[in-house]
């Protein structure tokens, strides 16, 4: 009653306003404190992320040492460049096969490890080791593996095929890069799959067993549907990483992605034009084009896989 009264009088309204203001200030105080703590990070983001992005965008509209404004010319040059589209083709080629091989293979190996009663930790470590290795070190080892007289050719010959000069021909060089990337990424795929496999409740399997479902049916109707989330994440992450591919191709094919640019990737294109020839404007434009490629691919992938982000 008294409350209703105070609302009716001007003084009561004023009191309420002051009260609300006070409450608001009290609520705001801890928030402000948090922003104060966040300030160094925000400054770091501004200086080391937003500023370089803005500067790169500005550079993408300029040309030459005097940074003269050329509008969209750099973007047009990149999109008209045959070398750029060849680097896109190489990047997609290596990435598609990397994903097609590594994700199913990793899933199968993860299932096998998950069913092991003993020694699963050993296999987890064994398969994860390549992923811990730096890609540069791994590629250096692969230079020896892919040597004309190297171990891979030994196996090829044991299987009755003629030996390949892996890094001297465009097709075999690309497959050399695919083998390296699958080897390096496989451990990560296995670990993610294993984590998901272990999270599937054993109740489902017990119930299925009671109902008389075979092992394969359990795998098909219980395991697979429960794995969709992890496989989707791996698919999206794999695409993003694949489109950003550089170090492995650079180590195997050098700056130009030899032989005959077969290992020239989109990031390799950016690196060569930016640092090999001081074409910072063009390299920045190519970087933004790559960014939009990744954005578009990720969007399509999330839609296709119905992934929730």
């Amino acid at each position: 009653m008294s409350n209703q009264m105070s609302k009716a009088t001007p003084l009561g309204v004023l009191d309420q306003r002051m009260l609300r203001k006070r409450n608001k200030m009290l609520r705001r105080q801890p928030t402000l404190a948090w922003y104060l703590f966040l300030l160094p990070t925000l400054l770091g983001i501004a200086v080391f992320m937003i500023y370089p992005l803005a500067e790169s965008l500005r550079l993408s509209f300029t040309k030459g040492a005097d940074e003269r404004f050329v509008g969209l010319q750099n973007y047009v040059s990149v999109l008209e460049s045959g070398t750029f589209w060849y680097s896109v083709y190489n990047t997609l080629y290596i990435t598609v096969f990397q994903l097609l091989i590594a994700i199913p293979l990793g899933f199968i190996i993860a299932c096998l490890i998950n069913n092991l009663r003993r020694g699963s930790n050993f296999f987890k470590v064994l398969f994860y080791l390549p992923n811990v290795t730096s890609i540069v070190a791994a590629a250096t080892v692969f230079l020896a593996l892919l040597h004309p007289d190297g171990p891979l050719n030994y196996v090829v010959q044991l299987l009755g095929f003629e030996k390949l000069v892996w890094l001297s021909q465009p097709l075999s060089a690309r497959w050399g890069a695919i083998i390296l990337s699958v080897w390096h990424w496989l451990g990560f795929v296995i670990i993610i799959n294993l984590a998901n496999l272990q999270a599937i409740s054993s109740d489902y399997y017990e119930a299925a067993s009671i109902d008389g479902a075979s092992g394969f049916k359990q795998w098909l109707y219980i395991t697979l549907p429960n794995m969709v989330g992890s496989l989707t994440v791996l698919f999206v992450i794999g695409w993003i990483g694949g489109l950003q591919r550089f170090s492995d191709a650079y180590m195997l094919g050098g700056l130009q992605g030899s032989p005959a640019r077969s290992l020239h990737t989109v990031v390799g294109f950016i690196f060569e034009r930016g640092f090999g020839g001081y074409e910072y404007g063009l390299a920045s434009a190519a970087s933004y084009i790559l960014f939009f490629f990744i954005l578009a691919f990720t969007y399509v992938n999330t839609k296709v896989t119905k992934m929730k982000i």
């Binding site: 925000l42 501004a46 500023y51 040492a65 940074e67 004309p148 001297s168 032989p259 034009r273 001081y278």
Partner: protein, 467 residues
């Protein structure tokens, strides 16, 4: 979604980013280009500040490569080499009241790092193998006024070493001196005398032609008559195939093109001699190990187990490998393919020192440049940094330590016959365009004529885009 405070914060961040971005623009171009756009006359005027008083103060010297301040031991040879503190101590002794500080960096991304340092004035003296691009931006100081002031004798350097680093500033009409050489480099042909003996062939002449090399390489490809192992006549560095093609082309009387700045440059990649050189290079490939295009198959060259007779392109550092494996007598060097009329052959290489336009102590920096051409400095480089440097002064020819190495005679001769200045087309995309098409020809994807035509068209289009 966002409360007002968040929006304000984001707004402030974006505004500060734009301000920073704008500052960056001005900072970058002003520092670099403003200085550039000063007319040559003004540059000379600024150099009128060159004084005759003994300079004092602090000098920052940037060095690129495998340098260290303190002594260090080579893991292969076990030899301890003295650090660059030796140079610091000597310079400070010669120039009292000065202090030298080194900024040491590796070869990775040295161009970008050097450019950033120059724009921010982080040092006074810079090692600039990529001098042309930096001079074009006006980031380096012209040296002619200093040379004139001191009547500095450029004749003490090996022939062509000073000319090789000449470059064009934004307002220069002719090539000018912006750097003085301090690291010498070249490529030479190296061959295994033991394999020549096994096959009963005469060694290569001091200045062989491509025909002589091919003829001998053809004879030495196959089963070694003495050891029975597979021998190959030739090898080369796959990534440098285009440089070898250009070397052959120039020995046949051709040229890469002409001009120095992109706007004046004309390429000659599809000339008759270039196509001929490309065909000869395909011939070379017949006598090389499989995998040579990928840099594989020649790992044993310069070792006891070698099975390749001739390497078309070896850096002078090979003398260190020979010393490590005690194979000094087994391998010999020959000059790169030379144009018989001009007496020239091979791409200019090495490193010069230059003074940053943003340096605050240019007089002292100039003293360092002179110091780098002194016998003390060059002898230090030869004795302690041999893996990454050859002497650039004529006096080195008389040093007993040079004379006792049989291959040094050829290396120093080679350094004096390099085409100068550095091939300007290699500073940008034409270099990669030529390399790509040379590789395509060697992989039989294109014929020599098609490959060179494609290189010419793509290179010319790129140059037109630079106008």
């Amino acid at each position: 979604m966002f409360n007002k405070l968040t929006l304000k914060l984001i707004g402030t961040l974006l505004a500060s980013t734009m301000i920073l971005s704008a500052c960056g623009t001005n900072g970058n171009s002003n520092g670099a280009v403003k200085t550039n756009s000063e007319p040559a006359a003004t540059e000379s005027t600024s150099n009128a500040a060159v004084t005759n008083e003994a300079p004092t103060g602090k000098l920052k010297v940037q060095l690129v490569g495998d340098f260290s301040l303190e002594d260090k031991t080579d893991p292969v040879s076990g030899k301890t080499s003295k650090g660059v503190k030796v140079l610091k101590e000597e310079f400070e002794k010669q120039y009292p009241n000065t202090e030298v500080e080194f900024v040491l960096m590796g070869w990775d991304n040295y161009n970008e790092k050097t450019q950033t340092m120059l724009q921010s004035g982080a040092a006074d003296v810079y090692q600039v193998p990529g001098i042309a691009a930096l001079v074009e931006q006006g980031l380096l100081e012209p040296l002619q006024p200093y040379i004139d002031k001191d009547s500095y004798d450029l004749g003490s350097y090996l022939a062509g070493q000073v000319d090789g680093w000449k470059a064009l500033g934004p307002d220069d009409q002719e090539l000018q001196i912006y750097g003085l050489p301090f690291i010498g480099d070249a490529r030479v042909i190296v061959y295994d005398r033991q394999l020549f003996d096994d096959w009963g062939l005469e060694y290569l002449s001091e200045s062989p032609t491509i025909e002589e090399v091919l003829e001998k390489a053809a004879k030495m490809t196959g089963k070694n008559p003495k050891t029975g192992e597979q021998n190959y006549g030739l090898t080369f560095k796959g990534a440098d195939a285009a440089d070898t093609v250009m070397n052959i082309n120039e020995s046949l009387g051709g040229q890469w093109g002409n001009g120095f700045l992109w706007k004046d440059m004309k390429l000659d990649f599809d000339s008759k001699t270039m196509v001929q050189s490309m065909d000869l290079m395909k011939e070379v490939l017949k006598y090389a190990p499989e995998g040579i295009m990928a840099g594989q198959g020649a790992e044993n060259f310069l070792t006891e187990k070698n099975n390749i007779a001739i390497n078309l392109r070896e850096s002078p550092g090979f003398i260190n490998s020979l010393a490590n494996f005690r194979l000094e007598d087994r391998y010999q060097a020959a000059l790169l393919f030379k144009n018989q009329t001009t007496g020239m052959g091979g791409m200019f290489a090495g490193s010069p020192f230059a003074i940053g336009a943003s340096s605050s102590n240019k007089d002292l920096a100039w003293e360092w440049l002179k110091f780098s051409g002194s016998e003390f400095f060059q002898q230090y480089m030869w004795e302690e940094q041999r893996s990454q440097s050859m002497p650039v002064i004529k006096a080195a020819e008389e040093w007993p330590s040079v004379q006792e190495i049989g291959q040094m005679d050829i290396i120093l001769k080679q350094m004096s016959q390099l085409w100068t200045p550095r091939y300007p087309y290699r500073s940008g995309q034409p270099r990669y365009i030529l390399s790509e098409n040379v590789e395509r020809v060697l992989l039989d994807e294109l014929s020599a004529a098609e490959g060179m035509k494609k290189a010419q068209e793509e290179g010319t289009k790129w140059l037109a885009d630079q106008q």
